[in-house]
Symmetry: C2
Subunit: 225 residues, 2 copies
């Protein structure tokens, strides 16, 4: 009832526009992504997109929110599959590379509405799905940030084309290689010496997830006034 020959009502235009936006970001880059181009790609007028999302930033806000949902799902799936902290980090890089359309929007707050309730809720939902424990202390948080920053750095440098070619063209392999240099021991914590590497499942709940939930408390990006 909605696919005869271009009916007046699309039926599922909202998700179709998000898909079109992601696809456009993926092959044109975020800078060259236009509201009208996305609408054209979906086969509707640009005003239809405005109706659903308010403005261009609103569309990209929806892209970012959906991205957080999918990132959370990917990390959760990897957790259940491998129970490996290292592999969760690798999954983060894999997500960035395989879904760069989402990823490249998610970490450019100047492109969307960083205070949008739906976006915040998607982040919070992702976090609450992952996090089930106590608040981390400062040392635990620093450890988690180190892991996150390392994987985020690998992902962004790879996406920017800044990885030295001799390292090969497999971003996941690079992530594993680099992760060997991360020391996830929490200083002063009992058993710290046997947690030197990035691969103990036990550190998962106490190190990575606390960081992820803190992420959701959003520092209301100090970027633009």
């Amino acid at each position: 009832m909605a696919s005869d020959s271009r009916p007046y009502h699309h039926g599922h235009l909202r998700p179709a526009l998000i898909d079109a936006a992601v696809a456009t970001v993926e092959d044109q880059g975020p800078a060259a992504t236009s509201l009208r181009g996305v609408a054209r790609r979906a086969g509707v007028s640009h005003a239809a997109a405005t109706y659903h999302f308010g403005d261009k930033a609103g569309l990209l806000t929806a892209v970012a929110a959906e991205g957080y949902r999918r990132l959370a799902e990917a990390l959760r799936a990897e957790d259940q599959a491998s129970h490996s902290y290292l592999e969760i980090g690798v999954a983060y890089v894999r997500f960035a590379v395989n879904h760069r359309g989402y990823f490249e929007v998610m970490y450019r707050p100047e492109l969307f509405h960083p205070q949008d309730p739906a976006l915040l809720e998607a982040r919070a939902a992702a976090a609450s799905e992952l996090y089930r424990g106590d608040q981390p202390d400062a040392d635990q948080m620093a450890t988690g940030i180190a892991a996150w920053a390392l994987m985020h750095g690998v992902a962004t440098l790879w996406l920017n084309g800044n990885m030295p070619p001799p390292l090969g063209d497999d971003p996941e392999a690079i992530a594993r290689l680099v992760a060997k240099h991360l020391d996830v021991a929490v200083p002063g914590e009992p058993g710290a010496d046997r947690l030197r590497t990035f691969s103990r499942a036990e550190t998962l709940k106490s190190v990575a997830y606390p960081v992820f939930i803190q992420m959701t408390s959003l520092p209301s990006s100090p970027i633009r006034p």
Copy 2:
């Protein structure tokens, strides 16, 4: 001879436009930066900017090139001042934060002409200034990439407003905190066990710089076709 009351010829329009572009990126963000806005800021018509840089991407190419020059200068100065590998990493983060107008352009190759000769030369000059040694092997390179990715991740997460507030608002302090978790030992290298931390000057030439020079060999960013 060039500052009476708005002479027809500016005299130093090229650098003035670069400054205006950096300032605009700094307080509007890269997405909202327009060629016309930059020209207005410099007090000239947009066509004058086009004359000097060809197009908007050309202007941002010049911004990126100048950014690489300044980054190299900052890292070199820190090296001579402290001889500390850790502090060079901190200086990288400091540069990103204090000169975000440059930094945010440098790592967005979709904004400029990544193959521009002047840009490549600036990167190469920065690298040759820093690098004076042999080609690194794969292990050394992985170690350097780990350090670079970690600091790059800290810098970008901070710029994006994604650092958890409890960590404080000093990005350099966060960089030092996080760096404690980086293990710069090169596996299988003699003396690896005593290089566990991120602060030995001796590792400087053999770890950080090789990465930086490899960076200049430019993988011709696989990003956009």
